[in-house]
C-alpha cells in the first residue's frame, strides 16, 4: 500500500484528517522523550516573600536599604542563619535552600529578579484575583475561561494521539489549565483509582485470570456516562478516561514488604512524606513512563506570611520551613530525574516557579510582611543556563519602589514562561498563548531543545 508521506511541517501543524489514518512517523510518537520536553510549573500560592528567599548579600548595593526595612524578618549575611552567597552576584539564597544553592552552582538553577505581572494596570493586591490573572494569562481578567497552559496545548502542534499531555497535581484543576480536556487532575497518584468497591464486582482486572464476561462497576461506568445527555457527562467521561489510563500504574512508593512494585526514585532521592514532595514524585514517575507528558502543574501554599514570618537567625523560622519544603522537593525531583539509569531526564524537563506577587519591602510590626508586587522566579533543569541571575533588579531605595512600598517589576512573568515554551517545548505561538503580550525576547535562560531546533529549522511559521 502507498505510504502517507507528510511534510514534516504539515504534521507539526496537526493536520488531523491525514494523521487519523496513521502516518507511521515514529520519530514523533508521543512516547519519544528526546523530541518532547516537559515543563513543570510550580505555583507558590499566597505570595512568596521573594526578598527573603533571595536577599541582597553583604556587598549588594541594596543591602543597606534591605536592612533598613527588614529587622525581625531579616536574613543575615553572617552568623546564625546567614544566607548562602550565589557566586559573584552579591545575592544570597535563604539558608534553608542549601540544595538549591548547589543546583545553582552546578549551573542547573537560574533566578529572575524583579519578575511579576506587568498587566493589568492598576495593579491588584488580591491573592485570588492576581492568581487568576497570572494563570489565565491575558493581562487581567478571565478572558474566555481558558488558561495559558490550555492555549499552549492547543497551539503546540502535539501529535494527534497523546496519552497524557498534561497533569495537574491537586484536587481541583488550576486556572492555568482551565478549559482543557487533555489534562488529568489528581491530588495523589496513589489515591486516583476506583478500587474501594467490593472486590468481586469492582473491576474485571481485579481477577487474575479474568472471568469471562464479568464487568465490574469500573468497567460499566464509561457506558453509563456515555449514554447521558446531561452537561456533566463529558467531564465524567474524562474522569473515567483518566482513571483508566492511570489504573495500571503503581504510584505508591516502593516498600520492601508492603509495596514491592512501587516507585523507586533514582539516586537515593528522598521526596519525604509531605504532599508537595509526593506530588513531585508522581510527576517524575510519569515523566519516566513516557505517557507523553508535556505539562505538569503543582502547588505549594502557605506563603501568605502576614504575621510571624520568623527569621533564620531565630529558632522560629516559619518562612524557612516553607523554603525547606520547596528546597527538598525540587532537590529530590532533580536528583530522581537526573540520575536515572535510562538517562538524564532533566535535560528534557524544566521547572519554573511562579507566585502571584511578592511582599512589601517594609516588614510590618507583626513580624510579617504584607502584599507587594515584584517577585522572583526560579528556573530549574539540565537545559537551563543556570548559575546566573537574570533580569534587572529595580532596587530598594524609596524612589525605586513601586508605589513607594514594593519591589517594582522589570521582567514580565510571561517573558520567562514564553521562553520555556519556545526554547524547550518548541511552541512559538507566544501571541496566542499570551494574547496582548508583545515585544517578547528571550532572556537566555533556556537552551534550545532538539524539538525547538527541529521545529524552527523546518521553517515552521
Amino acid at each position: 500500500m502507498s505510504t502517507i508521506q507528510l511534510d514534516r511541517r504539515d504534521f507539526l501543524k496537526g493536520c488531523c484528517a491525514a494523521t487519523l489514518a496513521g502516518s507511521g512517523h515514529a520519530a514523533f510518537a508521543a512516547t519519544d522523550s528526546t523530541t518532547q520536553d516537559t515543563l513543570v510549573v510550580v505555583f507558590l500560592r499566597g505570595a512568596m516573600d521573594a526578598l527573603s528567599l533571595l536577599s541582597p548579600g553583604q556587598n549588594h548595593p541594596a543591602r543597606a536599604d534591605y536592612e533598613a526595612n527588614r529587622d525581625a524578618t531579616r536574613v543575615p549575611y553572617s552568623g546564625t542563619g546567614a544566607g548562602l552567597p550565589l557566586g559573584a552576584t552579591n545575592w544570597q539564597l535563604h539558608p534553608r535552600a542549601a540544595a538549591l544553592k548547589t543546583l545553582y552552582t552546578q549551573g542547573h538553577l537560574a533566578l529572575v529578579v524583579g519578575a511579576g505581572q506587568m498587566a493589568p494596570n492598576p495593579v491588584v493586591r488580591s491573592h485570588f484575583e492576581a492568581q487568576a490573572n497570572l494563570e489565565i494569562g491575558v493581562g487581567g481578567g478571565t478572558g474566555s475561561g481558558i488558561g495559558w497552559l490550555t492555549r499552549h496545548l492547543m497551539s503546540a502542534s502535539l501529535p494527534a494521539n497523546v496519552p497524557v499531555p498534561a497533569v495537574s497535581m491537586g484536587s481541583i484543576t488550576p486556572s492555568s489549565l482551565l478549559g482543557s480536556t487533555e489534562a488529568i487532575t489528581m491530588n495523589s497518584g496513589q489515591d486516583f483509582r476506583l478500587d474501594l468497591g467490593n472486590w468481586p464486582w469492582n473491576s474485571a482486572d481485579d481477577y487474575q485470570p479474568a472471568i469471562a464476561g464479568l464487568k465490574g462497576v469500573a468497567d460499566v461506568l464509561p457506558s453509563l456516562w456515555q449514554s447521558s445527555t446531561l452537561p456533566l457527562a463529558q467531564a465524567g467521561l474524562s474522569a473515567l478516561d483518566a482513571l483508566s489510563l492511570f489504573r495500571s500504574i503503581n504510584f505508591g512508593t516502593f516498600h520492601a514488604s508492603s509495596n514491592t512494585a512501587g516507585y523507586q526514585p533514582s539516586g537515593g532521592a528522598n521526596y519525604g512524606t509531605g504532599g508537595f514532595g509526593l506530588q513531585l514524585q508522581n510527576i517524575a514517575q510519569l515523566v519516566k513512563r513516557n505517557v507523553g507528558l508535556r505539562i505538569a502543574t503543582v502547588d505549594l501554599g502557605g506563603w501568605d506570611t502576614h504575621n510571624g514570618q520568623g527569621s533564620p537567625a531565630n529558632s522560629y523560622d516559619y518562612f524557612g520551613n516553607q523554603v525547606q519544603v520547596l528546597n527538598d522537593g525540587l532537590n529530590a525531583f532533580y536528583t530522581d530525574l537526573s540520575t536515572d539509569a535510562a538517562g538524564n531526564y532533566m535535560k528534557n524537563v524544566s521547572v519554573v516557579t511562579v507566585s502571584e506577587f511578592g511582599r512589601r519591602v517594609q516588614e510590618n510590626a507583626s513580624g510579617g510582611t504584607d502584599h507587594g508586587y515584584g517577585t522572583v522566579m526560579l528556573a530549574l533543569g539540565a537545559s537551563v543556563n543556570g548559575n546566573q541571575i537574570y533580569g534587572t533588579f529595580p532596587g530598594l531605595a524609596s524612589d525605586q519602589l513601586f508605589e513607594g512600598a514594593d519591589v517594582a517589576v522589570t521582567t514580565d512573568y510571561r517573558r520567562v514562561l514564553a521562553e520555556a515554551l519556545v526554547a524547550r517545548l518548541g511552541n512559538a505561538n507566544v501571541g496566542y498563548v499570551f494574547p496582548g503580550y508583545s515585544g517578547y525576547s528571550p532572556l537566555g535562560i533556556f537552551q534550545s531543545s532538539v524539538l525547538a531546533d527541529t521545529v524552527f529549522k523546518s521553517g515552521f511559521d
Binding site: 500500500m1 489514518a21 496513521g22 507511521g24 488580591s126 484543576t173 465524567g236 474524562s238 489510563l245
Partner: protein, 616 residues
C-alpha cells in the same frame, strides 16, 4: 522508511486510533485506553463553565419531577420519605413548595431524632462558650489531640445534622455561610474555639444566624476567635496594623473582587471621580468600588479589635477567648476615609463599627451576596435579572432581623430556581451526605482524636470516611484559604475530584459501623432494606430492585441508569427472574449467582455514580 514498514506502522497506528474511537463510543474494541488527547476529541471544552438557564432551555434535560429537583438543591439530598412528606403538604406542587419553605424557615423545635443522635455521640465541646473553650482546650498545649477535639467534634456533628436534621434548608445555608466566611478549622489557635464560630451560624435567636441579619452575622464573625486567628485581626494594633482581615473583609466577605478597583487613587477632592457613586440602601450616596487605600484605612479603623489573652498585650485581660476592643491598641490619631465616608479621629470603636455599617448598606455588597446565593441554589451562571431581584430584597431589608431569610426565600421562590435543572452538581460533601440519606444509612461519625481506647494503627470508620471525603477535596472546614470552597461545576468536575467522588461513593456502601470488627453491620444496609421493601422473594427481580433503588436515590428512573442497573444486577438472568440476593459465593460459570450480596451493593454504587445522581 520502506513502504512495508510504513504500512505496518500505519496499520498499527490505525488500529490504535480506531480502538480509542470505539472506546469513546462505549464499545468494546481491541483493548485500548482512550488517550487524553486523541482525534475526534475537542481539546477545549468550556460548555460547562458557560452553562446558564438560557442555554439549558435550548437542550431539554430529562430530569426528575420538579419537587425532587427543588428538594435536591434546597437540601442535602431528597429521599423517598422527603417526597412522601412533601406530597402531603398541599394540593399542588407550588402550594407544597410554599408550605415546605414555611416549615424550613420557621424552625419549629421538632428535630428530636437528630438531636438524640447528637446527644448520643457525647460531644464535649459543642455547647461551650468561647471562654470555656479557651480554658478547656485552647490552653492545652501538651495534648494536641485534646486541644483540637472541638473542631473534630464540629466536623462530625455537622455531618450528622446534614444527614439527619429535618431542617435541611437551614443546614444548606449553614454550609453556604461557612464557605462564605471560610475558616480553616484545624488552625492551631482557631481550632479549639471552632464550636463557638460554628454556633454563630446556627444561632436561631431573632436577628442572628443564617436566617438573620447580614450585618449582625458579619460582625459576629469578625469578633470570633476563629476568624480573628484566620485573618490575623487579633494581632492588628496601632503599633503594627495587619491588613489581612480588612482586605478579605472587602474582597471576600462583602464587596467582592468585582467591586475592587485596584491600586487607584479615587481622590474626590480633585473633582475628578474615576470611580462612580451609587445609591446605598439608606438612600445616601456611596462610592461603587473599593481601592487599596480603603483596605489600609479599614485596617486602621479595626486596630484594637482583638481576643482577650490572644497576645501579650492583652495577656491578662478577663474572659479569655472572647472579643474585646482595646482602645490603647487602636490607632485613630487622624481623620481617615472608607469609600466616600469620613472616619473622625478619636472615635474609638465606632470607627470599626462604621466600616460594617457602610458595608451593610452598599449595593455592591447586595449584588455580591445575591450572586453567591444564586450560584449556590440555582446555577453557576445566574441571570443578571435574578441577581438584581435578590439583591434588592437584600438591600431593602438591610435592617430587618430576618434579612437573610427573606433573601434566601427570594431565590427559592424565583422562576429561575423553580424551572432549573442540571445547572448545578453535587459537590463531594453533598454527594456523600446525599448518598447516606438516600441509602437509609445509620451512621454517627465521632472523632477518634482524643480517644482513651485508641489502638495504634487502627483506623475507625469515621476516620476512613473523612479521609475519603478529604481525598475528593471536600472535607468540612478543610479549605486552607479564606475564599472558601469553590461553587462551580467547572471546579468540581475536575478529573481528580470527580474521580475521587466516584471512589468515595463505592467506599461508602462497603463501610461498616466498626471497620475493626469482623461482621460489623454496614452503615447503609441496602440488602436489608431491599428485602424489607420487597418481602416476597419471587418479586426480587432485577427490574424491581433496580427500580426500587433508582426511586430511592434519584426519585425517578432515567432510562440509561435504570437499564444499566438492571443489566448489572441480572447478569445472565432475565430482568424478570427472581434473584438470589443473600449469598456471597464464587460462581464464575453463572454470574447471576456470583457474590450476589456484593453485587447488590455495587449496583447501588453504580446508581450513585451516575451523572443523574451527581447533577442537580
Amino acid at each position: 522508511m520502506s513502504s512495508t514498514t510504513a504500512a505496518i506502522a500505519a496499520a498499527g497506528s490505525r488500529r490504535r486510533v480506531l480502538g480509542t474511537l470505539l472506546a469513546a463510543l462505549g464499545m468494546d474494541a481491541t483493548p485500548a485506553q482512550a488517550a487524553m488527547r486523541r482525534p475526534g476529541k475537542a481539546p477545549v471544552d468550556t460548555r460547562l463553565a458557560q452553562l446558564d438557564a438560557a442555554s439549558a432551555v435550548a437542550v431539554t434535560f430529562s430530569g426528575p419531577p420538579s419537587p425532587v429537583a427543588w428538594l435536591n438543591r434546597a437540601s442535602f439530598g431528597c429521599t423517598q420519605a422527603d417526597v412522601t412528606a412533601f406530597n402531603a403538604l398541599g394540593a399542588s406542587d407550588s402550594a407544597r413548595w410554599t408550605a415546605w419553605l414555611d416549615y424550613q424557615f420557621n424552625l419549629v423545635d421538632d428535630d428530636s431524632a437528630c438531636n438524640s443522635r447528637i446527644a448520643g455521640a457525647n460531644f464535649q465541646s459543642l455547647n461551650l462558650t468561647p471562654n470555656q473553650l479557651w480554658t478547656t482546650f485552647h490552653s492545652d498545649t501538651a495534648n494536641y489531640n485534646h486541644r483540637m477535639l472541638p473542631v473534630a467534634e464540629v466536623e462530625c456533628a455537622t455531618l450528622i445534622r446534614q444527614t439527619y436534621s429535618k431542617h435541611q434548608l437551614f443546614e444548606v445555608m449553614v454550609d453556604f455561610w461557612h464557605d462564605h466566611f471560610s475558616v480553616f478549622g484545624w488552625d492551631y489557635d482557631g481550632g479549639p474555639i471552632f464550636p463557638a464560630f460554628d454556633a454563630l451560624f446556627r444561632d436561631t435567636t431573632p436577628g442572628n444566624g443564617v436566617f438573620g441579619n447580614f450585618k449582625s452575622l458579619l460582625m459576629a464573625v469578625c469578633e470570633s476567635a476563629s476568624m480573628m486567628y484566620m485573618l490575623d485581626l487579633y494581632s492588628s494594633f496601632a503599633a503594627g496594623p495587619n491588613e489581612n482581615y480588612a482586605r478579605e473583609l472587602c474582597e471576600l466577605h462583602t464587596l467582592g473582587a468585582i467591586n475592587y478597583a485596584g491600586v487607584v487613587d479615587p481622590d474626590p477632592y480633585s473633582g475628578v471621580y474615576p470611580i462612580p457613586m451609587v445609591t446605598a440602601a439608606d438612600g445616601s450616596s456611596i462610592r461603587a468600588m473599593y481601592v487599596d487605600d480603603d483596605v489600609y484605612n479599614a485596617t486602621t479603623a479595626l486596630t484594637g479589635w482583638t481576643i482577650s489573652q490572644s497576645t501579650w498585650q492583652v495577656g491578662s485581660d478577663p474572659n479569655p477567648g472572647t472579643f474585646e476592643y482595646v482602645d490603647s491598641l487602636h490607632y485613630d490619631k487622624v481623620t481617615t476615609t472608607f469609600l466616600n465616608r469620613y472616619i473622625g479621629a478619636n472615635t474609638g470603636i465606632s470607627a470599626g463599627q462604621n466600616i460594617f455599617n457602610w458595608l451593610s448598606i452598599h449595593p455592591g455588597v447586595a449584588t455580591f451576596i445575591a450572586t453567591k446565593l444564586c450560584r449556590r441554589l440555582v446555577g453557576d451562571n445566574p441571570s443578571a435579572s435574578l441577581i438584581s431581584t435578590v439583591a434588592n430584597v437584600f438591600m431593602q431589608n438591610y435592617q430587618a432581623p430576618n434579612q437573610l431569610q427573606l433573601t434566601t426565600q427570594a431565590v427559592l421562590t424565583s422562576n429561575e430556581f423553580l424551572s432549573s435543572y442540571g445547572l448545578k452538581m453535587k459537590r463531594p460533601g453533598v454527594a456523600f451526605v446525599g448518598a447516606l440519606r438516600a441509602c437509609g444509612a445509620d451512621f454517627t461519625p465521632v472523632p477518634d482524636l482524643d480517644n482513651p481506647t485508641y489502638v495504634s494503627g487502627q483506623w475507625t470508620t469515621t476516620d476512613s470516611l473523612l479521609w475519603a471525603l478529604q481525598s475528593a477535596g471536600h472535607r468540612p472546614f478543610y479549605w486552607p484559604a479564606p475564599n472558601g470552597y469553590p461553587d462551580t461545576q467547572t471546579a468540581w468536575s475536575s478529573t481528580g475530584t470527580l474521580g475521587l467522588t466516584l471512589r468515595m461513593l463505592a467506599y461508602l456502601l462497603e463501610s461498616t459501623q466498626d471497620r475493626n470488627v469482623a461482621g460489623s453491620p454496614f452503615i447503609a444496609d441496602v440488602q436489608a432494606q431491599t428485602l424489607a421493601a420487597i418481602p416476597v422473594a419471587a418479586n426480587r427481580t432485577a427490574a424491581n430492585v433496580a427500580g426500587l433503588w433508582c426511586d430511592c436515590i434519584l426519585g425517578y428512573r432515567p432510562a440509561n441508569v435504570y437499564n444499566t442497573a438492571v443489566d448489572f444486577l441480572r447478569q445472565n438472568a432475565l430482568a424478570t427472574d427472581a434473584l438470589d440476593l443473600t449469598t456471597d459465593t464464587w460462581n464464575s460459570a453463572s454470574l447471576k449467582l456470583h457474590y450476589t450480596k456484593s453485587r447488590l451493593r455495587s449496583m447501588v454504587a453504580l446508581i450513585l455514580s451516575s451523572p443523574d445522581f451527581l447533577t442537580r
